[in-house]
């Protein structure tokens, strides 16, 4: 879909970030820019800097405050972009504590790495995407951590055809996101850092403290890539994975930790679930709006299960995102099976698959909740959910 702009540098690099490169080249080829924009509109989920391009442009135009070196926006403008500013027509994009956003931005401005920790589904990745888009104008320099992540996916690798024919040179070098972020002075996102092997994590050490990457294969000044102003790292880590405890303390020291929490109050979360699931349902061709009372049951149940202590707490993630997907499933069932909004029976049927996944313990916890807690609640919808409890599969 996307013709290579630089055929000689095209590789099969797994994190080759063609999309990122395309942005860079857009300025060089204005003719193609129009074409790629149309293509982007058809994307399932364009990156933040594309989705909110107008807001970013407006903020940049109005920005009167000092910008940290290498930043696209001042701290205040970046904060307004993320937290929202109703008066200026900037939508609120991250529902959470504004102080957290402030700490995160200041951390990045002080040249320490930022590590966002939290339960899955607490919008850590969204936050890191928004911050990168606000600070560097691009959120596409991303390393996706995983068990198979290697150092050359972080720093650089080679186009082996060129390497063999011409020897090591900047032409045959394929920079990975970290190297590009350093060379261009941009924020690099490192998703799920704790899922990487420890030795791969530790390859960030020198990069974060010395702010330089050595490329021993290249001679002369090209053998050292120094980080430009504006380079920094936002990592995210999941408390359900191996967790941050296993990170080396040397690496921990180079990051400031920010824990992202689930949305603290019911009304905000309910509104978010209602809006997001409504959006998803419309995209799925469902015209019936979700039943608000039923959504309230769903969100309340998720919050109670999430807040449970010790062994009562499901191992599955009872996140807002998960609630949205249950609400979506409920709406789909109701609409396509009967042509009406989803009801309590749909909710119970959807819970097993989406919320309990394949864990029999979670299913038991859910069943116990339906049996013992739900009947204590007042209201027709709670009663209906209780009556439908036998539909919980498994």
């Amino acid at each position: 879909m996307n013709p290579p702009t630089d055929p000689d540098r095209r590789t099969d690099h797994p994190t080759g970030h063609r999309a990122g490169r395309r942005t860079d080249h857009r300025t060089d080829h204005p003719g193609r820019a129009a074409m790629t924009t149309t293509a982007e509109e058809q994307l399932q989920r364009p990156p933040a800097e594309v989705r909110y391009a107008e807001e970013l442009a407006a903020l940049r135009a109005d920005d009167r405050d000092h910008r940290p070196p290498g930043w696209e926006l001042s701290l205040r403008a970046a904060r307004r972009f993320i937290v929202g500013d109703e008066a200026a027509g900037i939508a609120r994009k991250f529902v959470g504590d504004p102080a957290l956003v402030e700490r995160a931005l200041v951390t990045l401005a002080t040249n320490r790495g930022l590590l966002l920790v939290g339960e899955p589904g607490t919008a850590k990745s969204l936050l890191s995407e928004l911050i990168a888009a606000a600070v560097s104008g691009t959120s596409r320099l991303t390393v996706q951590g995983g068990a198979a992540t290697t150092e050359d996916q972080i720093k650089y690798s080679w186009n082996y055809a060129l390497l063999v024919s011409e020897g090591p040179s900047t032409r045959s070098l394929v920079p990975a996101p970290m190297l590009r972020g350093m060379a261009e002075g941009r924020v690099v996102r490192f998703e799920e850092i704790t899922r990487c092997p420890l030795e791969v994590q530790d390859s960030l050490l020198s990069l974060l403290s010395e702010r330089v990457v050595a490329i021993p294969e290249l001679d002369g000044p090209e053998g050292m890539v120094f980080a430009k102003q504006g380079f920094n790292v936002i990592a995210t880590a999941n408390t359900r994975d191996r967790g941050v405890n296993e990170m080396s303390s040397a690496l921990k020291r180079r990051f400031n930790f920010e824990t992202v929490f689930p949305i603290p109050d019911l009304d905000t979360e309910l509104a978010l679930v209602e809006a997001e699931s409504g959006h998803l349902l419309r995209r799925s061709g469902v015209t019936a709006a979700p039943d608000r009372d039923l959504l309230e049951v769903l969100v309340t149940a998720f919050r109670e299960l999430r807040a449970a202590e010790g062994g009562d707490r499901p191992s599955a993630v009872m996140s807002t995102a998960e609630a949205v997907s249950v609400a979506h499933a409920v709406g789909l069932r109701g609409w396509y099976l009967r042509g009406e909004p989803g009801n309590a029976a749909d909710l119970v049927s959807s819970l097993a698959g989406t919320a309990a996944k394949d864990s029999p313990e979670d299913l038991a916890r859910l069943r116990r909740y339906l049996e013992q807690r739900v009947p204590r609640r007042r209201g027709a919808h709670w009663q209906a959910v209780h009556d439908a409890r036998h539909l919980l599969a498994g």
């Binding site: 937290v83 002080t110 038991a364």
Partner: protein
């Protein structure tokens, strides 16, 4: 001349400074302060020269309700400064608010809580307008660390925004009307002299409007009198920063008193610096590494945050946020407590705990020696004299007679209040202890008065103060096993008859989140016993125990359905289920859980392959005893055989069954009865299998007293059509070692005969 209205936030150093400046500048003839008007005759007591913080403690009791309210005062309270400075310039200082017993203060423990916190939409509006997460952070930025010029105007604008068009609730309306009456009356008296009115800023806009209206009744407003038969009073008690910081939710005022004390004394830079130092000192004392690099990072973060938030000088949250960002190297389990008005939750990160403690401080106030002692001191003295516990003579109390019980209660109340003087050397140790006498020895009485004055903050009478302390203990009792049962028994011993709602709700809340079914079972059994039979302490059918019964039953049922995995038989949780069965039998009308619900739940557990064997057995037994619809024999067979198929769990399963349904198991021995099924299962075991199952089987049968074991033996003999005594089957006359040796010899001989083919075919 119109009155000068000064709207303040309680416990705000910036407002306190503004009050001091205003009083010195205007030299008013009258200073009207938001404070209980019933104290107006006793303002000299406040000026005695106490070490702050202190509090005006007010109590009230009538037939329907009891209430206790504190009005804490510290060096930087605007009300305190108004009182002090007003008297210094020779003004008449008057408290103009309703007395604390007034229903307007119902459910309010802190008179000087922030009014706006009760109006959530006002708070939300403010935060949204300024884009901050909490009002406290917003307030600090706008007022505490901002330059002082234009403070009064900014305060007016702020409180106009807070009040907005919010309709005050009934209590606030009554208070505003009363305060406006005072303002009008004093204005009429003052003529051309200046009148300064210092009240919470939330009330100022309303007071301005109300005070402009003509007075309905001329003269100073009368002090409302409490209804006939009610007991009420106000007095001074020493207070502490810890207590000041402990109000939660909408009761809270400004947090972190030590920080604001420092801010009051030395300004925001000094306060920020001191806070940082004190956090680092505390952490290093606890051997938590704090490197210089961390401190540089924290300082950089704090500076950056202050700049981003538009603070000329770092505020409290800037410093705390900076330190947290640089020092916390783990994921947190709770949001940072200063980002929302939440008390520190158990399991908070140690760095966060130290930070909160450093900001909160440990200062405690002391009253001037001439301060009239709080009524608790007199009450305690009178009660001790009444029971004759004044000398060094040991005291014995017979709990079965009214006087002895009253004496015991007095002494126990003093004990839970931590007042020295007497300690108990003999008496009942728990609710089911059949001891009805107590002995109390005298010990050193030094520190008793100090302890009583301190405890005076909890209530006006021993009874009330003990109930308050017990409620506080209930709140802090976490998962400590013994804590809950002890607490319940202490409540009974103290005869907390003037049961405060607070004690009731905290105790039930503690029960509702207790993690251990065994401990809950102990509490439930004790509570049930007392609720049914207690004549000694007079707690039979008491609502407190009923609430505990219901809470414990629900919680145990919740916990047992959630227990999964393999483990040996746990007698504690089996006893807990037995206690549930008893509660369902003897106090069903007190429980939310019905027999039918519980039976259905028992069936679910009994059939749950993931439930531990002992619980499955117990659930089986519970279902049998509830007798809703008898399990059919086939279902029973399946369950028993299923358990038997797994030799490790057979004994555990039986232990559970026997713990709950002894009577049902031994009742019947016909074909298809439980006993018959078990007999068949056991008879089918090979010797090796039997040996594996034996220890758990022994444990299971230990639930039967000897007499019932004999009955089982008799039934088994009958079943096989044999004759003999059941007792004989249970006892051996020979030494078990001999029997084992004989058995081994016999096996050897059989094996030898088999080897040589000498044994006849069987």
């Amino acid at each position: 001349m119109p009155a000068v209205f000064l709207g303040v936030r309680h416990h705000s150093p910036a407002c306190a400074r503004l009050v001091a400046d205003t009083v010195r500048r205007l030299r008013p003839a009258y200073v009207l302060v938001e404070g209980p008007a019933d104290l107006n005759g006793r303002l000299d007591e406040l000026a005695l020269g106490h070490d702050l913080p202190i509090a005006v403690f007010s109590h009230y009791r009538d037939a329907e309700r009891t209430a206790t309210t504190w009005a804490p005062l510290c060096d930087y309270s605007p009300e305190w400064v108004a009182l002090r400075e007003g008297r210094a310039v020779g003004a008449e200082v008057l408290f103009v608010d309703l007395p604390s017993w007034h229903p307007a203060f119902e459910l309010r423990a802190n008179r000087y809580a922030d009014a706006e916190a009760r109006y959530a939409e006002a708070t939300a509006r403010l935060c949204e307008r300024f884009g901050t997460g909490s009002v406290d952070a917003l307030w600090d930025g706008l007022f505490e660390v901002a330059p002082a010029d234009g403070l009064a105007e900014r305060l007016d604008a702020y409180f106009d925004l807070v009040r907005g068009d919010a309709e005050a609730d009934e209590g606030d309306r009554a208070r505003e009307a009363y305060m406006a009456d005072w303002v009008r009356a004093v204005l009429a008296e003052a003529g051309t002299a200046t009148v300064l009115v210092v009240t919470g800023g939330f009330h100022t806009p309303a007071l301005r409007t109300l005070a402009g209206r003509p007075a309905e009744v001329p003269g100073r407003p009368a002090l409302p009198a409490p209804p006939p038969g009610a007991v009420s009073g106000s007095y001074l008690v020493p207070y502490s920063f810890r207590q000041l910081d402990a109000f939660a939710g909408y009761q809270s005022g400004m947090p972190s008193p030590a920080y604001y004390q420092r801010l009051w004394e030395g300004g925001p830079e000094a306060a920020a610096d001191r806070l940082r130092r004190s956090v680092v000192a505390r952490l290093r004392r606890r051997r938590h590494p704090v490197s210089t690099a961390d401190l540089v990072a924290a300082a950089a973060l704090t500076g950056g945050l202050a700049a981003l938030r538009g603070h000329a000088v770092p505020s409290r949250t800037d410093v705390l946020d900076g330190l947290a960002g640089a020092l916390v190297k783990d994921d947190l389990t709770q949001p940072l407590p200063w980002s929302e008005r939440a008390p520190l939750a158990p399991g908070s990160h140690p760095v966060v705990v130290e930070m909160v403690a450093a900001a909160s401080g440990g200062r405690t106030g002391r009253l001037h020696p001439d301060t009239p002692a709080p009524p608790l001191v007199h009450d305690a003295g009178a009660r001790l004299a009444a029971i004759g516990a004044t000398g060094t003579r040991p005291l014995t109390c017979d709990l079965t007679i009214a006087d002895g019980l009253a004496a015991s209660r007095t002494l126990h109340r003093l004990r839970v209040l931590g007042v020295p003087g007497r300690h108990r050397t003999a008496g009942p140790a728990h609710g089911a202890d059949p001891v009805t006498g107590e002995r109390w020895e005298a010990e050193s009485e030094s520190g008793r008065d100090a302890a009583l004055i301190e405890a005076g903050a909890y209530g006006a009478t021993l009874d009330e103060a003990a109930a308050t302390v017990l409620a506080e203990r209930a709140r802090t009792t976490g998962s400590a096993d013994a804590g809950l049962a002890d607490l319940l028994f202490d409540t009974v011993l103290c005869g907390a008859t003037a049961l405060t709602d607070r004690l009731l709700t905290t105790l039930t809340a503690t029960v509702a989140r207790h993690p251990d079914p065994g401990a809950l079972g102990a509490v439930l059994a004790t509570a049930l016993g007392l609720w049914r039979h207690d004549r000694v302490y007079g707690t039979a059918r008491s609502p407190l125990l009923a609430a505990v019964l219901d809470g414990a039953v629900s919680r145990i049922l919740w916990l047992v359905e959630g227990a999964h995995g393999r483990s040996g038989a746990d007698p504690a949780r089996l006893t807990a289920l037995a206690a549930v069965r008893d509660a369902l039998r003897h106090a069903p009308e007190q429980l939310t859980a019905t027999r039918a619900d519980t039976a259905a739940l028992a069936l679910r557990i009994a059939r749950d392959p993931y439930a531990p064997a002992d619980l499955r057995g117990a659930a089986h037994g519970l279902h049998l005893t509830l007798d809703v619809a008898a399990l059919d024999a086939a279902a029973l067979d399946v369950a028993a055989l299923d358990a038997a198929g797994n030799l490790d769990s057979l004994g555990d399963w039986l232990a559970g069954l026997f713990a709950l349904a002894r009577e049902e198991v031994t009742a019947d021995s016909g074909d298809g009865s439980l006993l018959a099924v078990l007999d068949a299962v056991l008879a089918d075991l090979t010797d090796a299998e039997f040996l594996i199952a034996l220890p758990a089987l022994r444990q299971a049968f230990a639930w039967f007293p000897p007499r019932e074991r004999e009955r089982i033996a008799r039934r088994l003999i009958e079943r096989r059509g044999l004759r003999g005594s059941g007792r004989g089957l249970l006892r051996t006359t020979a030494d078990p070692l001999h029997l084992a040796a004989a058995r081994a010899l016999e096996e050897n001989v059989t094996a030898l005969l088999d080897r040589h083919g000498l044994r006849s075919a069987r």
